[in-house]
């Protein structure tokens, strides 16, 4: 009995003393290759957007640039793991990417909860977290994190300033998803209306997963707002629009918010989505004449001819394009800190997709959007790019 306990202590102590020091080469970079990756939703509620942003977006740009010789002679390889929108899986996947796959940086992960679960780990280990597809401002103020999508508080500011300033509306109501996404917009709307000395006339919550919103729509109609914001996921969003059409409520402008502002989702409501307005963060992927968007469509036609262009793959494509610009600026001796400095040096840069990009010390890559209105199932632009500064 005693001897095996003593033996156990010796073995444990020996193992405790041994322990190799960590090697210090720049991970994820060789002379021939850069390895990037992310944990994303390939199953679960956001599987479509996750797959489009990564395999048909980020990879689309990298395939094109690899065929054209790569970034400073290095080809880019990507590794993706599925987290099904679960924070714990995202944390495990991200550790695996950093420690086993030795990625250089995380690019384009998706969703606030999974991204937040990896935030501190990546910052502590000095691994860049580039352009996550999420709008909560929790990503602000980190040295190694650059935000992607225009953050929700900026979106709200642009929407309210435009509707109050340009369109002179005075009464507003909100139909919102009863979760963080809905409440993030709700508080931002209240704050931004406050700057104009206005208040919300009525607010109605919708439970996650609810399909019937007729009671809420009836109550909102009774409040007679000039503008009604929809902060919903696609299913209930379409339901709300159909319900409004059914009861013949026409004297309000329906405004969709955040990721709901997409033809694919609004099309679920068929002709009930006619005249819905909103803030679009991306030019029309199918029809825009911008050079960058044309190149995106040509690349899609060449590499994935069966995949129809859409905003999610365009956002992933843009993330890869922006990374490539930062990596080019970092030069031949590519390091993580070099890419951070490279991205921070971007001023008035033409991407051919969005208006000139300037990334300052705030690390926010997108700060704009433009106003659109649905006409015969497609968005028609009503304004030029709106700025949030």
């Amino acid at each position: 009995m005693k001897t095996w306990i003593a033996g156990l202590i010796v073995v444990v102590a020996a193992l405790g003393i041994a322990g190799a020091p960590f090697a210090a080469a720049e991970p994820g970079v060789t002379d021939a290759e850069i390895v990037l990756g992310c944990s994303n939703s390939f199953s679960g509620p956001l599987a479509f957007t996750g797959e489009q942003a990564t395999r048909f977006g980020v990879d689309l740009y990298f395939r094109a640039i690899n065929d054209a010789g790569g970034i400073n002679g290095r080809k880019v390889r990507t590794v993706y793991y599925d987290d099904g929108y679960k924070p714990q899986d995202a944390a495990a996947n991200t550790k695996k990417l950093v420690e086993q796959d030795k990625i250089f940086a995380v690019i384009a992960p998706q969703g606030t909860p999974p991204v937040v679960a990896t935030l501190d780990y990546l910052e502590e280990n000095k691994v860049p977290l580039l352009f996550p597809f999420q709008g909560s401002p929790v990503t602000r103020g980190k040295k190694y994190v650059f935000s992607g999508m225009t953050l929700y508080d900026r979106q709200s500011r642009m929407m309210i300033d435009y509707l109050v300033g340009e369109r002179k509306y005075k009464t507003f109501a909100v139909l919102y998803q009863d979760d963080e996404y809905g409440k993030a917009f709700l508080t931002a709307f209240e704050k931004d209306l406050g700057r104009h000395r206005l208040k919300l006339t009525a607010t109605e919550p919708v439970k996650r997963g609810a399909t019937d919103v007729s009671a809420q729509i009836a109550k909102l109609q009774a409040a007679k707002p000039q503008v009604t914001f929809l902060v919903l996921t696609p299913g209930p969003g379409a339901q709300a629009l159909k319900e409004r059409q059914k009861i013949g409520w026409t004297d309000t402008v329906m405004v969709s918010s955040g990721p709901l502002t997409d033809e694919r989702y609004l099309a679920l409501a068929a002709d009930a989505a006619e005249d819905v307005e909103g803030l679009s963060l991306w030019p029309d992927p199918l029809t825009s004449d911008l050079t960058g968007v044309r190149q995106y469509r040509e690349a899609m036609q060449k590499y994935f001819p069966k995949n129809e262009p859409n905003r999610y793959s365009l956002s992933g494509y843009f993330a890869a394009l922006l990374f490539a610009e930062g990596a080019k600026r970092a030069g031949k001796g590519l390091t993580r800190d070099g890419v951070i400095a490279g991205l921070e040096s971007i001023k008035g840069w033409e991407s051919g997709i969005l208006p000139p990009i300037t990334i300052g010390p705030d690390h926010e890559t997108q700060k704009q959007g433009f106003w659109v209105k649905v006409e015969k199932t497609r968005f028609k632009a009503l304004t030029d790019w709106l700025k949030s500064e």
């Binding site: 199953s43 099904g84 495990a92 550790k95």
Partner: protein, 278 residues
């Protein structure tokens, strides 16, 4: 032989942070946390044959729930209990979303590092040791419990509630106890989970997580403590390994489970028992 295996296991558990990368250390911690939930769930399902689809809810709010739900639901039997727990899982998620003053809703909650006296457990290895220590305690407790009077009473309830009652086993009391213990295990695991991930949000605890726990004990073996641990390891590691298959993950995961059920209907523990039986 058994002692040698036990020693090897202890050495491996203690030495793991030295041998493996911090990712594998984290993964081992996650396996153990899931194993604690699985053992807890097995105390309920394996021993009394009640099925709970609400264990993600317990994991979410920790041990407090025993007081909230434990008593009223235990009068329910079989399918009715299953339905009540299924509803419970949803209720907890809703509650977390709506008590935002306390939980920050879906925005998630930053969890401060665990502290043991003067030490803050900030590294993966430190958190791992905490998890190992707690898991070891709970495993020993569960093993002992199963061999005690209580364990025999619970087994009697599993075989036949009527027969158990006729033999003088107070069925409702023991079922309450099993449920409370089960929720307690899961609550403890919830606390460890919070420290391990460092941030909490209701999306971590959806109904599929509860289903995952049920899968763990079925794959591992109902009514077996080692089976629960093996089941938790299999499901957690499988999830992790399959993450690289992206869209095909649910498909492959499902096929593996069907395979398990076809070839080992009693779970891994039953195969082990058959192999080692004289």
């Amino acid at each position: 032989m058994r002692r040698a295996a036990l020693v090897a296991l202890i050495v491996l558990a203690v030495a793991w942070p030295r041998l493996a990368s911090s990712y594998l250390v984290f993964l081992a911690s996650l396996v153990l946390v899931n194993a604690i939930v699985a053992i807890g769930l097995n105390l309920l399902s394996g021993y009394t044959h009640q099925l709970s689809f609400g264990h993600a809810g317990f994991l979410a709010i920790g041990a407090y729930t025993t007081a909230l739900l434990g008593l009223p639901c235990l009068r329910l039997e079989g399918l009715y209990l299953t339905m009540a727990t299924l509803a419970f899982g949803f209720v907890v998620t809703e509650a977390i979303l709506n008590l935002d003053a306390l939980t920050h809703g879906a925005d998630g909650l930053r969890v401060p590092a665990a502290r043991l006296g003067p030490w803050a457990l900030t590294t993966d290895a430190a958190r791992y040791y905490l998890v190992v220590a707690v898991a070891a305690l709970l495993v020993v407790a569960a093993l002992n419990l199963a061999r005690m009077r209580v364990g025999r009473a619970l087994l009697a309830i599993r075989e036949s509630e009527i027969a158990a009652q006729a033999s003088g086993v107070p069925v409702a009391t023991w079922k309450t106890l099993a449920f409370a213990l089960s929720a307690f295990y899961t609550g403890v695991a919830g606390g460890l989970f919070a420290w391990l991930i460092g941030t909490l949000s209701p999306d971590a605890f959806d109904v599929f997580l509860s289903v995952d726990f049920v899968v763990m004990i079925i794959v591992g073996g109902l009514g077996s403590v080692p089976g629960s641990i093996v089941g938790a390891a299999v499901v957690t590691l499988l999830n992790d390994v399959l993450a690289g298959f992206q869209n095909y993950r649910p498909l492959i995961f499902g096929s593996v489970l069907i395979g398990c059920m076809l070839f080992m209907p009693g779970g891994i523990a039953s195969v082990w028992r058959r192999q080692t039986a004289p």
